[in-house]
């Protein structure tokens, strides 16, 4: 979580400095979902993400340097400079790809789950999507098909209460999201997405259900993005466009998932101040190293522009 936070903060700075142009949807404040879910997964469990997936990528084992290089448009990036922040991949770690088409990877993850089932593998597929995705028809089609075939698929809805700029209560009837899975007979949970232990425990339970052939499972994680929809503060048109109430942001900062976990660890005497400082130094060093790596990497040459369209 600390690494993701340090990375997102650094990316935010680079966006403000103008060094990063590609749309960067930061997951600051939502780290516990990414880390909690992925900590319950094996390497060969297959994960698909969305536009806000730096955290998912890191939590599933993606390389920090390659991510930074990708976002800076370098050839050494995880997608060789063709994807930017929204198309990231770490296939060898089971992180199968991310796209910004809302709910676009939910059915893809269902396809992953189907092939795992056909091949009788004891692995699961995971789709990360946001609360805004509940407006897309393909989500319900996927819920239906996954339930019909008992696919080993875990739907993770990160409910940060905003569908881009618009409060989710203005997008859908004010009913809990996790209930959308119920009519399909899918075991579904609503949990505190800022409590990493609760997320991890629920994810482990979900994996167990899928392994018994009783999937899919739906988990709604209540959380909040501390940054804007894009970049640190939605400053896309050169001015601050985040329209969320300041008071609301402040209240959620108090429920910061990292702070919450650190306080718990300190209380239980599992972590002291020195160790905390060391972790901070380590992650800062890793992010700095990633930035250096990216800066020192070359851009793809224009001769390569047509490469990789076909395999």
């Amino acid at each position: 979580m600390k690494l993701i936070r340090a990375l997102e903060n650094r990316l935010g700075d680079l966006v403000l400095k103008g060094e990063i142009k590609t749309p960067c949807h930061l997951c600051t404040g939502q780290e516990a979902v990414a880390v909690g879910i992925c900590s319950a997964l094996k390497r060969d469990d297959l994960v698909f993400g969305n536009h806000r997936s730096h955290g998912h990528y890191i939590a599933k084992g993606g390389d920090t340097k390659e991510l930074m290089a990708e976002i800076l448009g370098k050839k050494s990036g995880c997608s060789r400079g063709r994807g930017g922040s929204m198309h990231i991949i770490a296939k060898e770690q089971g992180f199968m790809g991310t796209v910004p088409i809302v709910a676009g990877t939910v059915s893809l993850a269902a396809g992953a789950a189907l092939i795992l089932q056909i091949k009788k593998k004891k692995s699961v597929a995971v789709a990360f999507f946001g609360d805004g995705a509940t407006g897309e028809g393909t989500l319900y089609e996927s819920l239906n098909f996954a339930a019909l075939k008992n696919l080993p698929l875990i739907f993770i809805c990160e409910n940060n209460f905003y569908s881009t700029h618009l409060p989710i209560r203005e997008c859908r009837p004010d009913k809990p999201i996790f209930e959308i899975a119920k009519p399909f007979g899918i075991p579904s949970f609503q949990i505190d997405g800022n409590d990493i232990l609760e997320v991890q425990e629920t994810a482990e339970k979900a994996v167990e259900i899928c392994n018994k052939g009783e999937g899919p499972v739906f988990i709604e994680c209540l959380t909040y993005r501390q940054a804007g929809h894009v970049g640190p503060d939605d400053r896309i048109q050169t001015e601050h466009t985040d329209i969320r109430p300041k008071k609301e942001i402040k209240q959620w900062l108090k429920k910061d998932p990292i702070l919450k976990f650190e306080n718990l660890l300190v209380k239980k005497k599992a972590l002291n101040k020195e160790e905390m400082e060391k972790i901070q130094r380590d992650v800062d060093r890793e992010v700095e190293g990633a930035y250096r790596f990216a800066i020192d990497s070359s851009y793809p040459s224009k001769e390569e522009i047509a490469n990789n369209l076909f395999q």
């Binding site: 060789r80 059915s107 893809l108 092939i115 098909f145 990789n308 076909f310």
Partner: protein, 317 residues
Amino acid sequence: MAINEAITQMMKKDSSVFVLGQGVKSPWYVGNTCKDLIKKFGEKRVIDTPISENAITGVGVGAAICGARPIVIHPRMDFMLYAADPIINQAANWSYMFGGKSSCPVVIWGIINRGAEQGAQHSQALHGLFSHIPGLKVVMPSTPYDAKGLMISAIKDNNPVIFIDDRWLYNDKEIVPKEIYSLPIGKGIVRKEGKDMTVVAISYLVKEALIAISDLEKRNIFPEVIDLRTAKPLDKEIIIESVKKTGRLVICDVGWKTGGLSAEISRIIVENIPGFLKSPVKTVALADIPAPTSPTLEKSYYPAKSAIVDKVMEALK
């Protein structure tokens, strides 16, 4: 049955090949193309699906990304438009947008159901639309031999391939080789050699063109007929070589006239060998209107042999 044989043989050979889509259990939907597949391979690998084109196509695309070689069937390709996102945004872009680190070897099979008073939403030929998209290959067989060979090539291809066939060709019979064989995607074939004119056609209009040509030969006119087999990538060389020889061109496309295959072929000629044309390019294609249902209207909507003969005569003027 040629397609059925292709799928059966490829499913036997490669355990990662599987079939999913609406109507695989029903000859009403897919003719006999999926006959006995369930009996041979079971319902785990031959999946008749709910009517959810978007998610089901996404399932195929996702499975392909994860190592399978799925064939997704759309028994009426009009309904494929619900799946524009998994086909165009996802499958087509997948290799490129991840720098070639992932691939999507999926076959999306759409059947054109023209005619029979089915109207605007049960009959559309959408190859022009899909041909516009970088990252997609679009094949359109006109014979049983080609249907088997191109289906096998599509399954073997490491990229997304849109396989489009026409119900009007489903009663055609031909002995095809028993063994597995593939035809190169992106290569056309000269169906009939000639000297006076190049007639480039695709899908069912190849058949009509060949009938038209036998009429024309009686009038001492000898056109060359090219079957494109693939709408994208287009076999430019075969068209250019033929037009260099004949100096005249009639394009027969099963889709609409504007912004489609005929416009593309015209562009290729104008860009590459404008000086070789002895007369203006002529086009046989659908008028830019939706398919009507009334039998009188429908009859004049779909071009056939006589339209091709007329255009050839015009081009010879």
